[in-house]
């Protein structure tokens, strides 16, 4: 279907009643998959039978916790690594040269190389 035709159908559907053929076309063009995954009904019935409906709020909390955790875990881990590095650097247990993989003698070697 041409994009302008789809746009026209969509906009018209908001303020006037489309015929059944036009509606079918619009549904076909707009909907990717209008079904839930396999076994949806069984899962709902299982929840009902097992009494999970009483702790419905708990499931929402767990879902929310999962979403937040995924987004906090990586920046959190990065922050901990930076904190450890900065503590080690401040205490002198770790030097910038060690971090960069160069030792003190490199300066002398460089100077002698450049002066030759």
């Amino acid at each position: 279907m041409k994009p302008e035709k789809l746009k026209d159908l969509l906009l018209r559907s908001l303020t006037s009643d489309l015929g059944s053929d036009e509606r079918k076309v619009l549904e076909k063009e707009l909907l990717t998959d209008h079904r839930f995954s396999e076994g949806f009904r069984d899962r709902v019935m299982k929840d009902i039978a097992s009494g999970k409906i009483l702790v419905n709020g708990k499931r929402e909390m767990l879902r929310l916790f999962d979403s937040i955790f995924m987004r906090v875990a990586i920046p959190g881990a990065a922050a901990v690594i930076i904190l450890i590095l900065s503590l080690l650097l401040n205490q002198g247990s770790l030097s910038y040269d060690t971090l960069l993989g160069i030792d003190n003698e490199v300066d002398d070697v460089l100077i002698s190389l450049l002066s030759e």
Partner: protein, 188 residues
């Protein structure tokens, strides 16, 4: 013993049987309205796991509130109302909590979809583009668009489902149309 014919029973009978403790009757209600709820939830939230969770919550909430269903409205209207409210709650919850941590997908730019691409997936790209435009509408506008466009309800039925006056639905539809026109201006 005569076997009860669930498939040919009307909705009210199924409700009565469910209230009498017959869970098979409720299973038949789910079978009848599962796709309707999927269309609403996926239309409101996108094709994501949360849409399925909202679907589950919708039927669980329906099960819990069946005793309050008086039969004044059709059962489908009652279910649709729960599905819309659950979807709106999910959108609000997502916005409230997750916006603290990251920029949500709602901010996805429409220019990311290449409408000029001639890669054999143009139909899909256009569909994604239009669906993305719908998802950019305010949730209250999105709900009237889904009910009218995807579910095919009349303005009166939409008002009944959302429990708002007809004038409110008409005004939301008109504003949604203006916003969609602007969002889809590049679609030619």
């Amino acid at each position: 013993m005569v076997k009860y014919d669930y498939i040919h029973s009307d909705d009210l009978e199924l409700v009565r049987h469910t209230l009498d403790g017959d869970n098979k009757a409720f299973s038949e209600i789910i079978r009848r309205y599962e796709n309707m709820v999927a269309r609403t939830a996926k239309g409101m939230l996108g094709d994501i796991q949360q849409a399925e969770d909202v679907g589950q919550d919708t039927f669980i909430r329906l099960y819990k509130s069946l005793k309050d269903f008086r039969g004044d409205a059709k059962l489908s209207t009652y279910i649709q109302r729960i599905a819309i409210n659950q979807s709106l709650n999910e959108i609000r919850r997502k916005k409230r909590f997750l916006s603290l941590f990251y920029q949500s997908d709602d901010k996805k730019d429409m220019t990311e979809i290449d409408l000029e691409a001639d890669n054999g997936e143009r139909t899909k790209d256009i569909r994604d583009y239009v669906n993305l435009a719908i998802s950019k509408l305010e949730p209250d506008f999105r709900s009237v668009v889904i009910l009218r466009t995807i579910q095919g309800y009349s303005t009166k039925e939409t008002a009944e489902i959302l429990e708002v006056p007809m004038g409110t639905v008409l005004s939301r539809l008109s504003r949604a149309k203006e916003q969609l026109k602007e969002l889809l201006k590049d679609l030619e």
